[in-house]
Amino acid sequence: MSDIGFPLTESAQPQSQSSLPLVRLSSSNFVRRILLLALLFVSEVIILSIWLDGASLVQRAGLIGIMHDWGAWILRCVVGFPVIFLTFAYLRNKSALESISDQIEQTPIRWSLFAAHCSAMGIFVGLSFVLYRGGGSDSWANLLAASWFAVGISAIVLAGLAFLSWAIWVQLIRSTGHLWAYSSVAVVSACVGGNVVRRLWQPASYLTFHLTKMFLSPFVSGIIADPARLVIGTQRFRVEIAPQCSGLEGVGLILAFGILWLLVFRKECHFPRSLVLLPFGVTLLFALNSIRLAALILIGNAGAKQIAVNGFHSQAGWIAFSAVGVGFCLVINCVPWFTTRQQSGELLDTATHNHTAPFLLPFLLILASGMIAGAANASKGPGSFEWLYPLRFFAAASMLWVFRRSYANLSWRCDWLAPAIGAIVFVIWVGLDRFSNPIPIVDLKVSAELMAFSTVGRVTWISFRVLAAVATVPLAEELAFRGFVMRRLISSDFQSVSFRHFSWFALLASSAAFGFLHRGYWIAGSIAGILFGLAVIRRGRIGDAVVAHATANALLAAYVLTYHQWHLW
């Protein structure tokens, strides 16, 4: 692979904030407030949905019965309405939003109302636990449910008013005309449509069944196929094609992705010819789903049933979607028949102007290789043994090597505080794990799988696992989250943003993204992200964050290996 490295413009020297040539959208204040509000609501909904089990509301009467029957639809409408409304407001009424954005600059977030929101949420959580636990008379349950609704709505209103004043909300509704009505109709239509689409799952499963049989037949003789039960396979291994495996979800994802792309970058697309890519992507992904099922059967038939069920089944669909999605982007962005960019000269010298790639590609390669390695797993979930893990190390190391010259101008120095921050992160990480698992977990599963390896194999695997944890992962993740995401949230011209530039929004949003990628450890991950972010901002050196991250991972590796806490990896 040729060296396509090029110097980055980021200087290690601190820049004064006033001299930053930031590219700011005139409506960015409004967008930021809305995103913060969305982040708050999404986090709260996710936490509540993990803790509360809707099944406990089954066959209950009155208001609770309504909650069970209509809860999911109400939630979809509550999420859908603001998304549709704000998307169209942003696209169609930019001037109104710019005016609102100017007013927002004068009105800070009202922390007293935010505190009231938190109090209301506290009551809401308490009521939720009582409500979902059940018991009591019908009238008591109805009173409880009514209070639950009232407190929930109050919490939403308080958060809304904390981030944007009443006057601004009124102005937003007035300046967008009848958009609220159109959005209401759209979201109700979408919910009804969503229900209708589910009826397509069964016929789509039949089509997938026959396609799978067609793809399987050249490789296996004596296929067992039961169209009535949608069971297909061989004497040794067979699967039932569930409605969720019909391929319609992949179709939905690629449609949503493709249409969003065409919408956002509509000025750079040739219409109507670009629309051709939608049915092409849908057909390709639907066919790939059947190929996935055929491959699943072949792997199981070859004797690797655990890999087929636990590894390949989970990962292959996502690998196919990612491949088709990336292909869609490349084709529509680079093929002149679809894009108008080349004509305006924007694609000239593309190879030498991609400043995003050195920051993101090492991390993206870790994700991509992780999906491939996961597909070869015999087990799944935290604590599963990923025998192909070295693939992640080589993927990241190769990208870091390719872009090595691009990193020359970044500041890699650090001081004593960096390892100290790393140690704090380690303590928080392990502390939160012990808090959620008071009885320490000893993952004998991974130990047993490792013991099945030869000594050389075992030492090699552990060496690469530790090497990745302390070298390639900290480098790749810090370049991506602190080097790119945190600065990109401040300005689209992220390289003009000094590493010392502080923004609450950028710090919290990049840390939340970092946290979410750490699966069950999203709280610890988000806290770690904040601390690593502060480490960078303190002196404007990415080296501080990398060393802090590497220290935390090294301590964690020692802890995992000493106490067999494999689930932490």
Binding site: G193, L348, T356, M371
Partner: protein, 62 residues
């Protein structure tokens, strides 16, 4: 045709997202209704796609 496509796209986008896209994306995330699926895979895939878009769009951007 171009105008029609541009006018229709936002409506198509909104409808698709909420008819099919949202349940699929939610299944990818922590709110999963398929216990046999590992939600972290979906999160990684969505992050991978977002990053790939940023890299591809990063081309030519100064």
């Amino acid at each position: 045709m171009r105008k029609l496509a541009k006018a229709t796209l936002p409506i198509l986008a909104a409808m698709t997202l909420f008819v099919i896209g949202t349940p699929a994306v939610l299944r990818a995330g922590p709110i999963t209704v398929a216990p046999e699926m590992d939600p972290s895979t979906g999160i990684a895939a969505v992050a991978l796609m977002a990053g790939a878009v940023l890299v591809i769009r990063g081309r030519g951007r100064k």
